[in-house]
């Protein structure tokens, strides 16, 4: 039993759900309106404010992620800060675009890249007074997704969240989003397979005290820890092994990344 006969009425029913549908007189006009809106939104990605703009754009250049062979050996310069209140939310924003591009909150570039054949770009933004420090992405890989670090406060410990992203027709990837205190300029993400990935931690106008970072790696990866480094390559504390809890709930169409250190 694996199929439908060509003359099965069920096949006709499936094909005939909206038999009376006529559609708009010229659908291209609707699509053109969306294209214009998307153009405006793309320009919004580049809307960067004065001094923070320079910092963000300067940080964007090294946003191409570099993989290094072994873990850095820098010593911790200070004891670990007490754990920040663990709370973060992952939300997927409604598909409907805002009524006008002007209503969009500014999104400041944090990182971008290509994984497989999918390009991605993550920026920081404030979605509301409560969701003030968010990383946001809407591209080939992410679908209007925002991760908000609601409880992170200036000077707080690095916090991060990982999620397995699956897009139809593409291999799964693991995304790591986070926020770190200044003077962090780079983070090292250690995976369970022993590989270490580096990503820049970027200052943006979203929160001058925060350094945002985003990393996307191919496949289902288990994240062991994330560690902050300053511009001289010195570790700014021990590796942070515990991710913040996210709203990710495994389901038939969705998987959550393995974020806890796996026993060896």
């Amino acid at each position: 039993m694996n199929g439908i006969d060509p003359d099965d009425p069920l096949r006709d029913s499936l094909r005939d759900l909206i038999p009376d549908y006529r559609g708009p007189a010229d659908p291209f006009l609707r699509v053109r309106a969306s294209i214009r809106h998307r153009r405006s939104r793309r320009r919004a990605w580049l809307t960067v404010g004065s001094a923070a703009a320079a910092a963000a754009l300067a940080a964007l250049a090294p946003a191409v992620l570099t993989r290094v062979g072994s873990a850095p050996t820098g010593n911790a310069l200070r004891p670990a800060a007490p754990p920040a209140p663990a709370h973060t939310t992952t939300v997927t924003l409604p598909t409907e675009p805002p009524a006008a591009p002007a209503a969009l909150p500014p999104v400041y570039p944090v990182a971008h890249g290509t994984v497989g054949r999918l390009s991605w770009a993550v920026g920081s933004t404030s979605l509301s007074p409560r969701d003030r420090r968010c990383l946001y992405a809407d591209d080939d890989l992410f679908s209007r997704t925002a991760v908000c670090f609601d409880a992170w406060q200036s000077g707080g410990e690095l916090t991060w969240s990982a999620q397995l992203i699956r897009r139809a027709g593409a291999a799964a990837v693991t995304a790591v989003f986070g926020v770190a205190p200044q003077p962090t300029t780079e983070v090292a993400v250690l995976l369970a397979d022993g590989s270490e990935w580096r990503a820049p931690a970027v200052a943006t106008a979203t929160d001058p005290d925060a350094r945002f970072f985003a990393l996307v790696v191919s496949g289902r990866a288990t994240v062991r820890s994330v560690r902050p480094f300053d511009s001289r390559g010195r570790a700014l504390g021990p590796p942070v092994t515990a991710p913040l809890q996210t709203a990710c709930t495994p389901g038939p169409d969705r998987a959550c990344a393995d974020v806890a250190p796996s026993p060896r």
């Binding site: 039993m1 694996n2 199929g3 439908i4 006969d5 099965d8 009425p9 069920l10 096949r11 029913s13 499936l14 094909r15 005939d16 759900l17 909206i18 038999p19 549908y21 559609g23 708009p24 010229d26 659908p27 291209f28 609707r30 699509v31 969306s34 294209i35 809106h37 998307r38 939300v91 997927t92 409604p94 598909t95 409907e96 679908s143 209007r144 699956r166 897009r167 139809a168 027709g169 593409a170 291999a171 709203a247 389901g251 038939p252 169409d253 969705r254």
Partner: protein, 170 residues
């Protein structure tokens, strides 16, 4: 870029209805289906020079399916098998009323499937794609396609039909 616009506009006009039907079978909401197609075609425009000579329809179909699956994950707007049935016309013919019954039945039963099951059933049996094509489109294995198709069809066949039990086939 008039040439780009012209060829893209022709593509939109010629495929709109078919794509909305696909989107509707996934979302079961005409407004959302049209929005999904509109946004997916707008995304296509940005890559049109790259895909126009390849398979732009496959690209936009994949975007539609991704969008439908993503929408089903949203916390505050998950799958809601909610149906407001249209009033039957008082003076409609028996055949027309039967057709409405049939469509209402299939919509209701499709709404009870998971979005992935629905996508597999629609792509496999309404769009006539092979298991391999469906697997590539959805990013899942052919075995998963088979499983989702089996379960989806079993559910559709097992549901009480307005005309009485349906014969089990296949």
């Amino acid at each position: 870029m008039p040439d780009r616009d012209d060829s893209f506009a022709d593509f939109v006009r010629s495929r709109w209805g078919r794509l909305v039907r696909l989107a509707y079978s996934l979302t079961l909401d005409l407004g959302r289906a049209e929005d999904l197609v509109q946004e997916s075609l707008a995304k296509l425009w940005f890559v049109w020079p790259r895909v126009r000579d390849g398979s732009p329809e496959a690209y936009v179909r994949r975007t539609i399916i991704n969008g439908a699956i993503s929408a089903s994950r949203r916390r505050w707007r998950g799958e809601e098998p909610r149906w407001e049935l249209p009033d039957l016309p008082e003076t409609g013919s028996a055949t027309a009323a039967d057709a409405v019954d049939e469509r209402d039945w299939i919509r209701r039963e499709l709404a009870a499937l998971s979005v992935l099951q629905r996508a597999v059933v629609v792509l496999r049996y309404a769009e006539d794609l092979s298991e391999r094509q469906v697997a590539e489109l959805l990013g899942i294995s052919a075995g998963s396609v088979k499983t989702h198709a089996f379960r989806g069809l079993a559910r559709l066949r097992g549901a009480p039909h307005p005309d009485g039990p349906r014969p089990a086939r296949g």
